[in-house]
Symmetry: C2
Subunit: 353 residues, 2 copies
Amino acid sequence: MKKYNISVIKGDGIGPEIVDEAIKVLDAVSGACDFTLDYEEYLMGGIAIDETGVPLPPETVPGVLASDACLFGSIGGEKWDDLPRELRPETGLLKLREELGVYANLRPAIVYDELVNASTLKPEVIQGCDIMVVRELIGGIYFGQPRANDGQKAYNTMVYTKDEIIRIGKQAFEFAMKRDKRVCSVDKANVLEVSQLWRDTMNELSKDYPAVELTHMYVDNAAMQLVRNPKQFDVIVTGNIFGDILSDTASMVVGSIGLLPSASSGDKTAVYEPIHGSAPDIAGQGIANPIATIESAAMMLRYSLGEEKAADMITNAIKNVLKDGYRTKDLAEFDAKEVLTTTEMGDVIANYI
Amino acid sequence: MKKYNISVIKGDGIGPEIVDEAIKVLDAVSGACDFTLDYEEYLMGGIAIDETGVPLPPETVPGVLASDACLFGSIGGEKWDDLPRELRPETGLLKLREELGVYANLRPAIVYDELVNASTLKPEVIQGCDIMVVRELIGGIYFGQPRANDGQKAYNTMVYTKDEIIRIGKQAFEFAMKRDKRVCSVDKANVLEVSQLWRDTMNELSKDYPAVELTHMYVDNAAMQLVRNPKQFDVIVTGNIFGDILSDTASMVVGSIGLLPSASSGDKTAVYEPIHGSAPDIAGQGIANPIATIESAAMMLRYSLGEEKAADMITNAIKNVLKDGYRTKDLAEFDAKEVLTTTEMGDVIANYI
Ligand SMILES: CC(C)[C@H](C(=O)O)[C@@H](O)C(=O)O
Ligand SMILES: CC(C)[C@H](C(=O)O)[C@@H](O)C(=O)O
């Protein structure tokens, strides 16, 4: 029987609650299929600060690298917001991404038919929407040098090399090949040199993918088009900060942020996590929606472990659970037949498998 | 009788058509009130490239500075997209902004009750929405040095000084004093040093405005919140590139982009323009919506000329025209009683005055 080692970072806020439910569902599906999963927990974020004094303890990166994939909850909270930058939860996350080399952040934004009313956008605008946002994750202005703040003047550097752009571009084109074969590259080439290199490189790369249609859009227009007509997009590829903004916009457009998973992947490993944050305000109350994390676990099965069948089983279970009207509190207004707690939702999904 | 000198930049695409209608309405209102307007035309953008070889001819900046205010249409089009960067229409616009010192871009995003259905967002989400986006316009990554692209590596610099932040922050707080007394400052202080200085400076500045509530939001969250619940905002203040993205998002959220004006103002002069672009695809067909430009003319009367009454007359005329069901083609689906051409719309608004 196949055995996989999964590193687990539960993190802060609702992180521990939702990761526990994902593990419950993973165990249900691995029991039904032909593999077992071993879990090893690591610290990162606020809890790591509290327990070890730093947001990314030294054993976490090697631990994740030694595993087959990493399942991650969420980090952060007001409690740690006033610490110096190098001691903040976010700094731990950025360091983790960098040291793991997970350069591609993949964020599917898919509208569930059952929850087409849960968006603030009109149902006819979003029904059937299925976007994959491919965000570069370990370059750009997040990591660019030099950077400084002397209290009178401060600056950061948005930088990309051609190799970095090719690497993320390939991911986008490969995804497009398995989807609707359309890539929209987002930049600000009418103003920024770094965007001009981005655009030129994407154009060059697109010659290797003649079956894929490449278009370009300025970031301001892309933000607008996501609201105006999100269905026009198939794969969106963009840099770190633009991707940060646009993927959040896309998730809000499709509506149910409690349902959306993500993967951060590189050549060595991948981290799977819900796109929503740690929501400290509702932590510990048993009302968090675990579905985004459970979907992230399904992505992990699909992309890192190659267990497609198990992944499909989870995805289908979630669809059926939603169709049958089970909801957590965040979605209680949207055709709920029964409103469940976090653990109950995990139980129901595990049972449907 | 008071006399004002208005510099006029019609620009490219639909620019000339819509500016002509704004002038028609300005003349109607100045006739009814107690002042006259003299207009002087200047070139900028693609038409300036075609006629003079450069996107910003030397006489334009002094001409605008010598006038009481500038009314501007729009620039750009595919025709000029492949020129080298220093010869593009956008470069002319950026240079104009920089040389005029118009550091504050003001973009009201207001929902007209008559057109509450014209947004892709649900009416109940946007009805009554009234946001003022205050975007820093001549700093940040748009103008930061160093910047370069050698074909293998490219970079730009996002930079702000404390003085630049104070200058734009004051604008935001002053606006808030005349509105709902709430400023939301948008940054990415969890990642960027330049944003940390931005946030610290806004906090410091807020001590001078004890009546105004200052909050902070990360840019990714702000993009999300604009879609989730735009009514939570009063004044948003942010840097150049974040403002570029968020103000376009805000305008799409409130829906009718053909209605939204903007002002770019500094210590010496101000430029008034619609937020929509030059729309080359519909140029010359007489179907462009002139209302955003006419609203921009009203902003000019209000903020640069102090002609509040004339400004109100225009704003009311537009409201009544919309209430009576007059629409240009872009809004024909939304409770139109009569669909008008660009010039007819200008005529009707002038008649209502
Ligand atoms: C927490 C923060 C540093 C992070 C980012 O900006 O990348 C988050 O917004 C995300 O998108 O994962
Ligand atoms: C045309 C372009 C350079 C400009 C900008 O990015 O500032 C435009 O998008 C705007 O918002 O006025």
